[in-house]
């Protein structure tokens, strides 16, 4: 029967991003043809963006439970217990497509969206982070995108008064046509005030609060679920202008109401606007919902029900209120000069019913639009060329320059150099909690009235992912945890943003599947469950996919803020130790890119059991107050970590690494591999000489390899026999890396 169903035109289906088969399925379930409004709603809810129709089966593989998990995936944000009756609430989200079209507003509204996800849970946002990817900065357009995105993130975060305390930014060919803009938000709340987006109580009124509804971003959700192409130009009205001032008022009003028994549920309006917020809110509670779009305040005249239901106008919230209390709640919003309107009621019909005044314009079973999303199971295929690329030996290449030059080039690389030109444009202090500011490893925020602090970071490396998506994802999790541990904190849980190309390509789907397995394995090993996340697929332009770029946001807990550790060398005469393995691994390294312009050979190996042992040992050393500085070895390897700790501390260092001393009989890039290779599971720490014995004992007992490599002091950065550069020369290169790039 179904194949005889009359299907609308290509164009009509394209507008709602449905296939003919999906349309037939809809007709089959409904037993009739959907009308225009219903078709738009089905298209939005069955889109990748809302329905996760490609990724959902894979996401089931992620570990999502643990003793501290209070809220796993499925809500607006995840939540973990951090002690003292407090919870950390956090999530990361992408705004890649909008930012590619209008960098300032795209990034700004991305920040606005992730903030709403957190205060919808009742939690006060205390930190923002931004994970960014662009093409090489030598192209004017990339500088324009970079500058616009940074300005937009600051423009929203600074205005609303939530500090942007961290993030990351990398520049690579892979992102030339598809910049990535992921924003993470962390909030803190008392357990009992956690608010869910679960409707209940048929007859309870539904309130729409905040901005008027305009023709903003109609089909934004479907837009994020297709490749960018020339026609993207025509979709430009999808760009929206955010209003951080309105959101600030909305946030304060919602926080005043958090935990109020008269509030049954809160849900922000994000992708697909009223459509997904009403449907998900009702369905989570096994209810139905009946709304009248004529009651929604409009910014523009002549808007159709279709437009109102699919508008993605920012700064709007939906609340379910105990019947009879709507007026009191509306007054609470009026205090902040916020408009609120009762636009519907919760029902027990399990249907989404939409009226336009008198007439019903939509009546859809919620199960159909949410649970019955037709899943896609594309074919997965490992890229054929991968074996050849992995087979190449990175150590065989002849270094184009000596180690000192290499170090300075790396420190001056936009992928490694100082991010100050970015984070000085972000208010990273408001709230009076930022104890470790951006510029080191993870950021650390104290929690007033307790001895606690939370560490937070984002990490991800697309070049490893290109070579091995599974290991790339494992490394992203491990590095995020390492950044948390470097502050002394214990990694607790993870949020993740999966930035990939078009999953309809077998190679991309394979990458996605591998990466998710990698995240799962690493999160298991490090006991950091995934509590929230976001998927951004179709990061393709004219057929070229980005490198697989899973971005991991991690939150950690520090019992005693006084036990925190910074990344910069703290005192002359302190001993410098390298903890973890020494090896010569250059595959996919920043050195390889700078020296040879390639990413080939195997990415660094990762032994998750070893990673765990190393991290636990460093954390224990920090807990015992043995460390005066700790920094993880990431891009640029041991030598860059050494230089960064020296630069951040304003102190020279003299070190020796015996593997570099007798390169005879070694492959040409051996020394470079030891110095700049990005071998995993490593920290560079410093401590008082008197504590060395105690420290060694701790590491021996935990079966962690380590070695004392040098001592802090002087005004040069030296690795005997390898390089000897003046500290100020290194600092100058580091500081200049992003300076003349407009940001």
């Amino acid at each position: 029967m179904t194949d005889t169903v009359q299907v609308p035109s290509e164009k009509a289906l394209q507008e709602v991003a449905l296939t003919g088969d999906e349309y037939r399925l809809a007709v089959q379930i409904l037993g009739r043809h959907p009308n225009h409004v219903e078709l738009g709603i089905i298209g939005a809810l069955w889109s990748e963006h809302c329905g996760y129709k490609t990724s959902k089966p894979l996401l089931k593989r992620l570990p999502t439970t643990g003793p501290r998990v209070l809220q796993g995936p499925g809500e607006n944000a995840g939540a973990v217990d951090i002690g003292e009756g407090l919870a950390a609430v956090f999530k990361i989200e992408s705004h890649n497509h909008p930012s590619a079209i209008e960098p300032y507003q795209g990034a700004a509204t991305g920040v606005g969206g992730i903030l709403r996800d957190v205060f919808t849970m009742g939690a006060r946002p205390v930190a923002l982070l931004d994970s960014l990817r662009f093409g090489p900065l030598d192209e004017a357009r990339q500088r324009y995108l970079f500058d616009g995105v940074v300005a937009g993130i600051g423009g929203y975060g600074n205005c609303i008064g939530v500090p942007t305390v961290g993030g990351e930014v990398y520049f690579d060919e892979s992102y030339r046509h598809n910049p990535l803009v992921n924003a993470m938000c962390l909030g803190i709340i008392r357990h009992e005030a956690l608010t869910r987006a679960v409707a209940a109580g048929p007859g309870n009124p539904v309130l729409l609060v905040g901005a008027d509804t305009g023709r903003d971003g109609i089909h934004g959700a479907t837009f994020a679920s297709v490749e960018l192409d020339e026609q993207s130009e025509e979709r430009r009205p999808a760009v929206q202008v955010g209003n951080p001032f309105l959101e600030k008022c909305l946030m304060e009003a919602c926080l005043e109401l958090a935990g109020d028994p008269r509030i049954v549920a809160m849900q922000d309006l994000g992708a697909a606007g009223l459509t997904s917020s009403t449907a998900e809110l009702a369905w989570r509670g096994g209810c139905g919902i009946d709304l009248d779009v004529s009651k929604a305040p409009r910014r523009e005249s002549g808007m159709t029900p279709y437009e109102v239901m699919l508008s993605e106008s920012q700064e709007r919230m939906l609340l379910v209120v105990e019947r009879g209390h709507e007026q009191a709640i509306q007054e609470a919003f009026a205090k902040w000069d916020l408009r609120s309107d009762v636009i519907g009621t919760i029902t027990d019909t399990e249907h989404l019913v939409v009226r336009d005044g008198g007439d019903v314009v939509c009546d859809l079973p919620l199960r159909m639009v949410i649970d019955d999303v037709p899943m896609r199971h594309p074919e997965a295929r490992r890229p054929a060329e991968l074996d050849a690329i992995l087979a190449r030996d990175p150590l065989a290449a002849t270094p184009p320059f000596d180690a000192a030059t290499a170090l300075l080039r790396l420190l001056g690389s936009p992928n490694i150099g100082s991010r100050r030109p970015i984070f000085r444009r972000y208010d990273h202090q408001v709230g009076d909690d930022t104890v470790l500011a951006p510029g080191g490893d993870a950021a650390l925020l104290r929690i007033k009235g307790t001895s606690l602090a939370v560490a937070v970071t984002t990490d991800g490396n697309g070049r490893y992912g290109r070579l091995d998506p599974r290991r790339g994802a494992e490394i992203a999790v491990a590095e995020a945890a390492r950044n948390v541990v470097a502050t002394g904190a214990e990694p607790l849980a993870v949020t993740n943003c999966l930035n990939f190309g078009n999953p309809e390509k077998p190679e991309v789907f394979w990458q996605l599947s591998e990466a998710i397995d990698g995240i799962a394995a690493a999160c298991e090993a490090l006991q950091t469950p995934v509590v929230s996340g976001n998927v951004s697929l179709y990061n393709d332009t004219t057929g070229i996919s980005i490198d697989p770029t899973p971005v991991i946001g991690m939150v950690g807990r520090l019992e005693d803020v006084e036990r925190r550790v910074g990344a910069g060398f703290a005192a002359d005469g302190d001993a410098v130790f390298l903890i973890g393995p020494v090896a010569a691994e250059l595959g996919g390294s920043e050195y390889q890119r700078i020296a040879h312009g390639v990413a080939e050979g195997p990415p660094p190996a990762l032994d998750l059991a070893l990673e765990r042992r190393v991290q636990d040992a460093v954390r224990e050393a920090a807990r015992q107050g043995l460390l005066r500085s700790a920094h993880d070895c990431a891009e640029g390897g041991l030598a860059v970590a050494l230089a960064e700790s020296a630069i951040l501390g304003g102190r020279g260092v003299r070190a020796a690494v015996r593997e570099t001393e007798h390169p005879a009989g070694r492959p040409p890039s051996w020394v470079a591999g030891i110095l700049f290779g990005e071998t995993q599971s490593r920290f560079l720490v410093s401590l008082e000489m008197e504590l060395k014995v105690e420290f060694r004992a701790l590491l021996d007992q935990r079966e962690v390899s380590y070695r004392e490599i040098g001592v802090i002091g002087g005004d040069r950065i030296t690795v005997e026999g390898a390089f000897d550069v003046p500290l100020d020369e290194a600092s100058a290169a580091f500081d200049a890396a992003l300076l003349d790039s407009h940001a």
């Binding site: 600074n158 205005c159 001032f245 600030k248 984070f423 972000y426 208010d427 408001v430 009076d432």
Partner: protein, 234 residues
């Protein structure tokens, strides 16, 4: 002491200011922009933030809040009114202080440490400080470039109403390192009656070593000291 802390829509350092004054053992009272009641506070703080989004001009709309009528009266009667960042901008818009604060010379927002030289100790806010003392207090603003015509600037200097100037960490001229390009490196000024202070940097962010500096606390202590003096005379 009772510090009143104004809250306009878009204000965000109200909570930081309350935290800071409480650290020094004082009481913090929220002053809602729609109220006229100052609840008998000893000092009014107009905190940082983006009141009304800083749309149109920073501080332009907040200036008309009902609360500001009472604040103007309070100031006219010699009461201490302390504008920080957005609060400074509001005070200029309200013509309670001369000049204006415009977009940073860099055209970029700046959140970074700044060093301030105390130019006048003859105010309630700096009484406990040494003239020439250098304080480390962060800035966080996009529109902090102080401008005024030459005559006004000269008058400010002559009446020793420039309270803080941006300097280098060693106290020397700040030059290119100025966070905003303010004329004559002005970071803070007082009214003719010396009771209304406007400053762009955020002392409330520099009240604990844990956050990098405790120099801001010196200002709060100065205010408390001067208030207890006047109280004891009363």
């Amino acid at each position: 002491m009772r510090f009143g802390i104004a809250v306009f829509p878009g204000t965000w350092s109200d909570r930081d200011c309350a935290h800071a004054v409480k650290l020094d053992g004082h009481e913090a009272v929220e002053l809602w922009h729609k109220d006229r009641d100052l609840h008998g506070v000893d000092c009014v703080i107009l905190p940082g933030g983006f009141s009304y989004g800083d749309y149109l001009r920073t501080g332009a709309v907040a200036r008309f809040a009902p609360l500001m009528d009472s604040v103007q009266e309070f100031a006219a009667g010699g009461g201490l009114v302390w504008g920080i960042c957005n609060g400074f901008q509001v005070l200029c818009e309200a013509h309670m202080l001369p000049g204006a604060l415009v977009r940073n010379g860099s055209l970029q927002f700046r959140c970074e440490p700044s060093w301030l030289r105390v130019e006048s100790t003859d105010t309630a806010y700096t009484g406990a400080l040494r003239s020439g003392q250098v304080l480390q207090i962060p800035v966080s603003h996009g529109e902090g470039r102080f401008v005024a015509d030459a005559a006004t600037l000269d008058l400010l200097e002559e009446q020793r109403r420039v309270v803080f100037r941006y300097v280098a960490p060693d106290g020397g001229a700040v030059g290119e390192a100025s966070p905003n390009g303010s004329l004559r490196d002005i970071a803070g000024i007082v009214s003719e009656g010396r009771n209304v202070l406007g400053m762009m940097p955020h002392p409330e962010r520099a009240c604990e070593q844990l956050l990098g500096s405790a120099d801001g606390m010196e200002l709060i202590r100065s205010v408390a000291a001067s208030l207890s003096r006047t109280a004891s005379f009363a």
